[in-house]
Symmetry: C2
């Protein structure tokens, strides 16, 4: 299912804010207690409900995090691009995962022993502080998501999704989607049929251009307007 890699944490330190506050000796401690793994698109990194024994740090690729719901569709609560931890409340609550993480592209990730991370939080207050900041940022993004999915109509929700994708997840325009239509629907809290109809409307209105997986945002202002009005 997965292939082992061998990279040093020092490499990540350079591109991730949360690692910056760690000393070299602390990074080495992580180095000794981690596994680097490559996942193929569609492979599960961890599953909602399963025990959470380690923290996951995405080092390349793209990961979707979604809440599974029996007899119903999934809801994507976030996408994680490297280099970033997957900030999941589970390890601090009941040691179980509360979302499922799946690779959308070929993805490499480091699995770091929970004990080591918790130890670092207890000994390095700067690190704890950065950690709290990151969790807080995630809460804000959850607020936005909740607010979008419960208060806005399909057009506003898709607009929110597109604005979330570029910039942030994809950083060229036009960009090549590695997410399926179903993923986009799960991100917007609707069925894929509805999503497709909205995208078509946006294309007809010259707000975006989409052909296959190539998506271009033509009129960003218009999208923001739609997102605001709901």
């Amino acid at each position: 299912m997965a292939v082992l890699l061998d990279t040093k944490c020092l490499v990540c330190k350079k591109s991730s804010d949360i690692f910056n506050v760690l000393k070299e000796s602390e990074l080495e401690k992580i180095d000794c207690n981690k596994a680097s793994i490559i996942y193929k698109p569609g492979e599960i990194i961890f599953k909602q409900g399963a025990p959470a024994n380690y923290f996951v740090c995405v080092t390349s690729g793209l990961v979707k995090l979604y809440i599974e719901h029996v007899n119903s569709r999934n809801l994507i609560v976030g996408l994680t691009r490297p280099i970033n931890y997957i900030f999941e409340p589970g390890p601090f609550v009941d040691h179980h995962h509360h979302v499922t993480a799946v690779a959308c592209e070929e993805t490499s990730a480091c699995l770091i022993d929970e004990k080591v991370m918790k130890q670092l939080i207890k000994t390095n207050t700067e690190f704890a502080n950065e950690f709290i900041k990151k969790i807080s940022l995630q809460s804000v993004s959850l607020f936005n998501r909740i607010s979008s999915c419960t208060q806005k109509h399909v057009y506003g929700r898709v607009a929110d999704t597109l604005l979330y994708l570029y910039p942030g997840i994809y950083n060229t325009n036009p960009f090549l989607l590695s997410l399926t239509r179903q993923d986009l629907a799960d991100l917007s809290g609707m069925t894929k049929e509805s999503l497709i109809r909205v995208l078509k409307k946006f294309k007809d209105d010259n707000i975006i251009n989409i052909e296959g997986n190539k998506l271009e945002i033509i009129n960003r202002n218009n999208l923001e307007e739609i997102a605001r009005k709901g």
Copy 2:
């Protein structure tokens, strides 16, 4: 608008887990940098978008936290009962509030200088750890809320709301609601008309009994079943 109180933090330490890890000297520091205030029902404690210069600890009463949305209804993302901090991501992100907090009953709260709290987080690792735990718990509850509001039909959502209210917010059965029908609707992500219709259905089906503000949960199993099925 509000009346000053004078109580010591030592009193709160006895009933709140997060205070337990603080030394007396640390509690005294909070004592010197806080304001105790009484709010009447309906009064705003802080407002979404306003600067967040202090942390709020609810010491009696009931507080609702909601996301405001222009030209649309509000969404209650949580209720806070004493003794508990209002865990808001704002202070760690952009120093602005991301929700509005309003007293539902006569409520007393301590406003604690942001700097003091952040200082404690940096110096007392146990406290930081408890803090992370609390934020994580809140994330989990946000996941539940998001999942309920986007995936379930009105009946499932109201069932979730009732199960959230008792036990947890109200701890007798039957209990006297201090929330209005509109509040219940905002908690369930629907209009008050829809909420009322669902409550009536539940009453007709002998799942609950409701007369005015007196609400009794008669068949909890049935409610859980409905919440599960959506």
